[in-house]
Symmetry: C2
Subunit: 342 residues, 2 copies
DNA sequence: TTGCGATGTCCTTAATGTTTGCCATGTTGG
DNA sequence: CCAACATGGCAAACATTAAGGACATCGCAA
């Protein structure tokens, strides 16, 4: 593979000159620069970012940590991140932690040893002190969804607002009177905000009594199905699920057990994953702009890399209520392309 | 960040000795080795694989190219790949080509300049000559699903067999008499094999006349829905979809247009993505072991990196017919966790 | 006990592909 | 004729590994 020396030889200049020419630095006449660029193309030269990174301390790689890439929500965010990174010439180092804190930690070490320039972190398990390893090495981190530490920027959906809108709709438009919340990872911010939005809205409406109980489980399809036995003991008229996967799991339980949705039981989720509108009784849910979330996160990270002394900030995306059939009442059309959860 | 020289200084040995000690090479006394390892740990040393790669020509990074990470099929494969790579100490460089040949090519260049050691390639757009760039640089490639060139190993599901099983079931058990095939990317191997399995099985059964027509479209949910108008003009009693997404799209069309499944129209897909069993009339489909596929691909790649003169091979996974309600007839229980397409 | 090769341990040096600071040379303008 | 500036060369630096050499120790036979 052609390297900088080959070009230098061909052009009868010094490698340093080639480097300056190719990197658009001054100190090279336009005539020489043009000649160098031309031979570089002719030789099919591509610079070795690893060697360059050795000296500039910029590997050109950015770490992307997700809890579970098969979760369509994370996959969409990842797509947004990776698209922006590509456009900016960065490489994406994928870390699928499979929701395990241990594996996540292992990946953190790996990212450090590979000298990534920054990290986009989607995590439900990391603690503030886990980020120490990055801070001490000067590696920028952007959190998505879960604001792990307020020393780093976070990009997230306004889950609280989404939950408020949804709850109000349930109570005021759909006549829900016995609500059961099925939540996910206990200390994930996503879970907390969604639950808070629900309870506070009920309180605001003077209807706190509507909440019959809150259950916690793994936020996926199978667990959503499995927990329904317990949920039904509370004889709810509506299940407020932490995300669509759980809601879909619940729906499948209803199908099997001949519970009519929305007649006997209303069902709602969060995220608006593709499958949410594919089922026979399309799911009322809160649409999240997952892809945009990823784009914003990557953009912000790149910005911070260029402005190393910028202070951490918080970017919130506003959600949109998607009223479909699963909670009865009138219905409104559109969105849901891509996928979702959290 | 502590480097090899710091350790050398502390231990009063030469950096080269530290290198040998840490890499488990011989030529270092056990006493010195132990001392070195201890101080390495104390200093929190982590080697810089990029610098090492500069000289060994082994970056420790492997490229993973997928057409669309939000597609649950690819996401599952990616998870399998990345899990195996992590266990073997490799990093995963994610390239989401968004089904664009152009972007894919750009990524190929990027992978080369980053000196990845190998590439796991899931592509529906790449042509044999596109792999040239890797071959000339000695970068090993493993294809998944689509055997782009027979100079590289391929890991794939036996789509042909799956299609045969499925078709036989449709004709013999479900009494299908007017079949329409809705296929995906025209020259993708996946499409070809699935279609071939169908037509050849019909021929074998002496029922070639059953196939009313074959339509091609983008293999996703929206296009599956959109093409149904055209499909119905052929007045089929069964739609043989290239994958579950298309089948689910078709199903949503049926719901809207009050076409009874499986009464008026039978529907089947391929891959057994999670959503396939979530819908009100669970989808008969062919289960693919997506995660395993990814594992096998990564394992094979690592094997080939260790045995550079190993010859290309082909690994086929056998599929499993999942009989559910969407084609009528009796039904069998289980699988479908994770997700799918191709 | 001496001599010799074999072996083990560690050091020295060069190399990987870039970038960067500094210096030398050449050119231009006043 | 000198200052100022533009141009491009030289060499060091980055973190690591590979090859080869120096030195000491050891076993064994003379």
């Amino acid at each position: 593979m052609a390297n900088i020396k080959d070009i230098a030889k061909q052009c009868k200049v010094n490698p340093a000159t080639v480097s300056r020419a190719l990197n658009g630095k001054k100190g090279v006449s336009e005539k020489v620069r043009a000649r160098i660029i031309k031979t570089a193309q002719r030789l099919g030269y591509s610079k070795n970012p690893l060697a360059a990174g050795l000296i500039t301390h910029k590997s050109g790689i950015i770490g992307l940590v997700v809890p579970d890439i098969t979760n369509p929500y994370y996959a969409s965010v990842a797509q947004g991140v990776s698209a922006v990174l590509r456009q900016s010439g960065y490489g994406t180092f994928l870390c699928d932690s499979t929701r395990s804190r241990e594996q996540e930690q292992q990946y953190f070490g790996m990212l450090c040893s590979y000298r990534v320039e920054g990290v986009v972190l989607l995590s439900v398990t990391a603690k503030p002190e886990d980020l120490e390893i990055f801070r001490e090495k000067g590696i920028r981190v952007i959190c998505v969804d879960n604001p792990i530490s307020n020393e780093v920027s976070t990009v997230l959906n306004d889950n609280y607002q989404g939950a408020c809108d949804l709850t109000e709709h349930l109570v005021c438009d759909c006549g829900v009177r016995r609500l059961v919340a099925v939540m996910g990872t206990r200390d994930a911010d996503t879970t907390r905000q969604r639950l808070r939005g629900c309870t506070e809205t009920l309180a605001r409406l003077g209807q706190s009594g509507i909440l019959q109980g809150t259950l916690y489980t793994q936020p996926d399809y199978d667990h959503g199905d499995a927990i329904m036995g317990e949920v039904m003991k509370l004889s709810p008229d509506c299940v407020f699920a932490v995300n669509d996967q759980v809601a879909l799991g619940a729906f499948s339980w209803c199908l099997r057990n001949h519970v009519d949705v929305p007649g006997q039981l209303k069902l709602c989720g969060f995220d608006d994953i593709a499958a949410a509108s594919m089922i026979s009784v399309p799911l009322t849910t809160v649409h999240q702009r997952k892809y945009v979330l990823g784009e914003k996160a990557a953009t912000q990270l790149i910005y911070e890399l260029k402005n190393p002394d910028s202070l951490p900030m918080r970017i919130e995306l506003l959600p949109k209520l998607m009223i479909r059939a699963s909670c009865g009442e009138r219905s409104s059309p559109q969105p849901s392309t891509g996928s979702a959860q959290s």
